[in-house]
């Protein structure tokens, strides 16, 4: 293994948990916690899989994903979206902006790992 994952999330404890889970399985994990600069960071890092929180300081995950899908360089990026709100409307919003996978917090560690694996598969 050894793919590259970029995690955009603002809760420090959740960052630490996901980083631990993925890096234990050999993934390189970069993290970022600000919504406004997220798109630039994604372009710069060009990860294999992007894990994106919805409620971020400065900018919502939906807006970030819409921008990414609009740019040819990042249009095909695999994205796993995490949200703590968990209502149907959130899922619909996520699908509209072109998410690959959608997961409601709290998640099981195994599911996250499985999702990242699936997404990074060619």
């Amino acid at each position: 293994m050894g793919g590259h994952v970029l995690l955009i999330e603002d809760e420090p404890n959740i960052i630490e948990a996901i980083r631990f889970i993925l890096s234990r399985e050999g993934w390189r994990v970069h993290t970022h916690s600000d919504g406004r600069s997220a798109v630039d960071v994604v372009r710069e890092r060009a990860p294999d899989v992007l894990i994106l929180d919805v409620m971020l300081p400065g900018r919502s995950g939906y807006d970030i994903l819409r921008d990414l899908r609009g740019d040819p360089a990042t249009a095909g990026l695999k994205v796993l979206m995490l949200t703590a709100r968990g209502q149907n409307r959130d899922r619909e919003m996520a699908e509209q902006v072109g998410v690959n996978m959608f997961m409601t917090k709290p998640f099981s560690n195994a599911e996250v790992l499985e999702a990242v694996r699936t997404l990074s598969a060619p």
Partner: protein, 894 residues
């Protein structure tokens, strides 16, 4: 010698003859054969009531005293007839088309059917005519006495002549003036009798004149020589008085109630006026032809001191020409009676229509009335009015002592009725004339006339004390009745004419210009002023079919074609007509009016149908009724509009309520979403790390401890969140019970600072306090208040982004309230967020900080419960919050 009894017998016989004439004329008119009664010559002769006993006897007296001045009395009317016939025609047309019954009615109609004006003119007319009637009584009495003085046996028997004459005239007038009630107030019988009297008085005067010139004086040449030798030859014309008298007599000719009666009310057509325009001046000229010869010969032949007013009678008597004297007496008698009869009829019409009837109708309300009721009341009121008018005349005659020269009394009367002139003339030619103007002008003119002429005419000292004339009332010299405003030296008559008419006209125009006419006044004004543009040529439909078709066209417009056709067909079938058009019978027209009334209102329907069927002009009343209906429709539609507005308002309120509900629903969704987020976030950490610990492979002890403490912290965070939510819920529902007790503010702050520091170590927030200001006792829920303080201090610890963060706590009193400000030295809260931060879950800071964003919402709820307030304090550099405690909480414990 003709005895008094003989004279009385002749008089009675003459009156019986007049009765017969009047009776026959009435019968003929009633049978419908009376076209010749409307002959212009009869109309012209009836105008001769202008020549009363004053003219018959008094003209000679006037000539004997004042020379040719008597001519002015004839000159005025002649000028009006010849020079102003077109104006008269307008007046007469207005009278005919509006069915005017008197001069009071004319003014009342012109000025918006004002009854007040009608009453005013009536009073003026009654007061103004009274001296005139007295004058007639006096002349008859004098003439009877002239006979009596020749006959020593009967001397003194004529004492009650005036009373008898008054009673007799009242009887005659009642019988002929109120025999019937004609809508137009025409009296064919009376007019005919007057025409006969006109002939008698002219014949009598001419006979006396012929006798004087050819019998006594010796022919025309001799008479002219006598005139040249008499004082009249030296007489010069005082221009001002001449012009004034001519004007006055012209005005009186138009305004005298009796003249208005014969001139306008009794007028039938324009042809009558055309003839009168030249024939009446001719009549006047004949009447004046022998005045001067009689005066000159009388002065010469009769003993000095003889009353020149009676020369017409005493000249034949002195020559023993009894027959001529009796004829002359009948001439004077005719003049007096015709004037009194017509004046009494005219005045009684006014009194009855403008005073008695309105009063009776006012007080009758509620009482049952039969249709004949009103008619009887009208007749009775007319008869009583006639008796009243004559009684007043008799009273004036008695009061004035009957001693004054006839002509002077006549001029008093003339001046009185001339006060109507400005309002009448302006009413005919000026639309701007208003009711208020007419009322004001009349009142002023009437008052000035009463004061300067009428009351003085009763004799100095009889009503007005002599001091009024010498010094003026209350010593105000400028108010002397014969020298108003200090302008003395004028002839008293001219003085009164000048001031009364001048002030009358001035006030009339001023008030008219200043006041605003009512709608009815304006309509009437327009109708009066523009009557000549629309002469009364009425449109007439001759064929019944044409009418029915016109009615059909109109009905279609209102009801629509199908309904109109159905209605007409139904009616035609009912009448048994073959075609689709019914005959315009009264029944059909009534049905049609009813049908139309349902759509356009009764008044409009009536006006429309009568316009087509009768071809009659729509009257102002009809128009007003139409306007009323329109008004009702406008009101109805206004009500509908109001209802529709009400509905619109209700709909708007419903929309607003709906919007609020939707908003609440959205807020509720957002709130649930927020809670979900706030709960799930710590639970995510807890789950993730507990799974890591559970799977446990290869974890060092340090990592194990660290992850366990994260789980612990997040559990506490969850608990805190739930506590806050429950707290907020309790506060919002008002279920909170406050635990009120005493406490020192400084202690409270100490504990709050300590508690905030304990909950979050590591923050180097410096707290600045002024202990001296904090020395306040409070009586409040100490724990809740400290919860607010802790929250504010904790917020400063979390969010103050200064390099050396510090929080200043200031305490002061403001208007009795205790004010505690918490001001830090960070960047503060953006303006647009300053109110938002008190909302639930409103975290505006980007900085990572614990808490669910409920703190300020809870604080605000607490402060509201405590009766105080918490607000953001803008413009302080850093974030600044102000807590205000009400006076009661701050002072109660002291």
């Amino acid at each position: 010698m003709t005895t008094l009894n003989g004279l009385a017998a002749i008089s009675v016989a003459y009156v019986l003859l007049l009765f017969a004439v009047a009776f026959v004329a009435e019968r003929v008119a009633w049978r419908g054969h009376g076209r010749w009664l409307s002959a212009p010559v009869i109309y012209t002769l009836s105008l001769s009531i202008y020549c009363t006993a004053w003219t018959f006897y008094g003209a000679v007296g006037s000539a004997a005293r004042n020379g040719f001045e008597y001519l002015t009395i004839y000159l005025g009317p002649s000028l009006v007839m010849i020079g102003w016939w077109w104006g008269l025609r307008k007046l007469v047309r207005i009278g005919r088309s509006n069915r005017i019954t008197s001069i009071a009615d004319l003014l009342s109609s012109r000025y918006g059917k004002s009854n007040l004006l009608g009453i005013g003119v009536t009073i003026l007319a009654v007061v103004g005519t009274t001296p005139y009637i007295a004058l007639q009584l006096q002349s008859v009495t004098l003439s009877v006495e002239a006979f009596a003085s020749v006959d020593p046996e009967t001397a003194g028997q004529g004492r009650h002549t005036a009373l008898w004459v008054a009673l007799g005239l009242a009887l005659f007038t009642v019988i002929f003036g109120t025999r019937s009630l004609d809508a137009n107030e025409r009296h064919h019988g009376v007019v005919m009798a007057i025409a006969v009297e006109a002939v008698v008085k002219l014949a009598a005067l001419l006979a006396v004149g012929v006798f004087v010139v050819w019998g006594l004086s010796g022919g025309v040449g001799a008479t002219l020589a006598r005139i040249d030798a008499s004082p009249l030859a030296d007489w010069t014309v005082p221009g001002g008085r001449w012009a004034g008298l001519t004007l006055l007599s012209a005005a009186a000719f138009l305004c005298l109630p009796r003249m208005f009666q014969v001139l306008v009310v009794e007028n039938d057509n324009d042809a009558q006026l055309r003839m009168a325009a030249w024939a009446f001046p001719l009549y006047l000229m004949l009447m004046s032809l022998f005045i001067v010869p009689i005066a000159v010969v009388g002065l010469e032949m009769l003993p000095p001191g003889s009353n020149p007013d009676l020369f017409v009678l005493t000249l034949p008597l002195s020559q023993g020409r009894d027959g001529l004297a009796v004829m002359s007496f009948l001439g004077g008698f005719s003049s007096a009676t015709s004037m009194v009869i017509v004046a009494a009829i005219a005045l009684s019409t006014m009194v009855s229509n403008h005073v008695v009837m309105p009063l009776w109708l006012h007080y009758r309300e509620g009482g049952a009335s039969v249709s004949g009721d009103v008619r009887n009341v009208v007749l009775l009121s007319r008869r009583l009015s006639i008796a009243g008018v004559l009684a007043l005349g008799y009273l004036y005659y008695k009061l004035s002592g009957g001693g004054e020269a006839l002509a002077v009394i006549g001029l008093v009367s003339f001046t009185g009725v001339a006060q109507v002139l400005p309002a009448m003339m302006a009413g005919l030619f000026w639309r701007g004339a208003t009711r208020n103007g007419a009322l004001a002008g009349l009142s002023v003119g009437f008052a000035v006339w009463l004061y300067t002429l009428y009351l003085p005419s009763l004799g100095t000292g009889s009503v007005l004390p002599p001091s009024f004339f010498s010094e003026g009332p209350l010593g105000l010299a400028w108010l002397r009745p014969d020298a108003l405003f200090g302008i003395g030296g004028l002839d008293p008559l001219m003085h009164a004419v000048l001031w009364s008419l001048l002030l009358n006209t001035l006030v009339f125009f001023t008030v008219s210009l200043l006041s605003f006419p009512s709608p009815l006044e304006r309509l009437q004004g327009a109708q009066f002023v523009s009557i000549q543009q629309t002469p009364g040529r009425a449109r007439r439909w001759t064929g019944g079919v044409a009418e029915a078709e016109d009615l059909m066209v109109m009905t279609q417009r209102i009801l629509g074609a199908p309904e109109a056709h159905a209605l007409f067909l139904r009616e035609a079938q009912k009448q048994g007509m073959p075609g689709p058009l019914p005959e315009p019978t009264a029944d059909f027209l009534e049905t049609l009016e009813r049908e139309l009334a349902g759509s356009v209102g009764a008044a409009t329907a009536h006006a429309m149908v009568s316009q087509i069927v009768g071809g009659s002009a729509v009257s102002v009343e009809d128009l007003m009724a139409v306007a009323d209906e329109t008004q009702q429709m406008v009101e109805y539609s206004a009500r509908l509009e109001a209802q529709s507005q009400e509905l619109t308002r209700t709909a708007r309120q419903l929309r607003e309520a709906n919007r609020k509900l939707t908003q609440l629903s959205v807020q509720k969704d957002a709130f649930l979403s927020q809670i979900s987020h706030e709960l799930r976030t710590p639970m995510t950490s807890i789950r993730a790390f507990s799974e890591i610990l559970r799977d446990g492979d290869g974890l060092g002890p340090e990592e194990q401890t660290r992850y366990a403490s994260i789980i612990h912290d997040e559990s506490l965070r969850l608990t805190r969140l739930l506590d806050d939510l429950l707290d907020l819920s309790v506060l919002e529902n008002g279920q909170v019970s406050l635990n009120m007790r005493d406490g020192r503010l400084s202690d409270l702050l100490d504990r709050a600072v300590a508690a905030a520091a304990a909950s979050d170590e590591g923050s180097g927030l410096r707290i600045v306090r002024v202990e001296a200001d904090e020395d306040h006792w409070l009586y409040t829920d100490i724990d809740r208040l400290s919860q607010v303080f802790i929250n504010l201090i904790a917020n400063a610890r979390k969010y103050c982004d200064a390099d050396a963060p510090s929080l200043e706590i200031r305490v002061c009193e403001e208007g009795g309230d205790l004010v505690i400000d918490f001001i830090d030295n960070g960047t503060g809260v953006a303006t647009e967020a300053q109110e938002m931060i008190f909302e639930k879950f409103a975290r505006v800071s980007d900085r990572e900080a614990g808490g669910a964003g409920l703190g300020l919402a809870i604080s605000r709820q607490i402060m509201t419960r405590l009766g105080g307030a918490i607000s953001y304090l803008p413009g302080q550099g850093g974030a600044a919050f102000r807590v205000v405690l009400p006076q009661a909480a701050a002072l109660a414990a002291q």
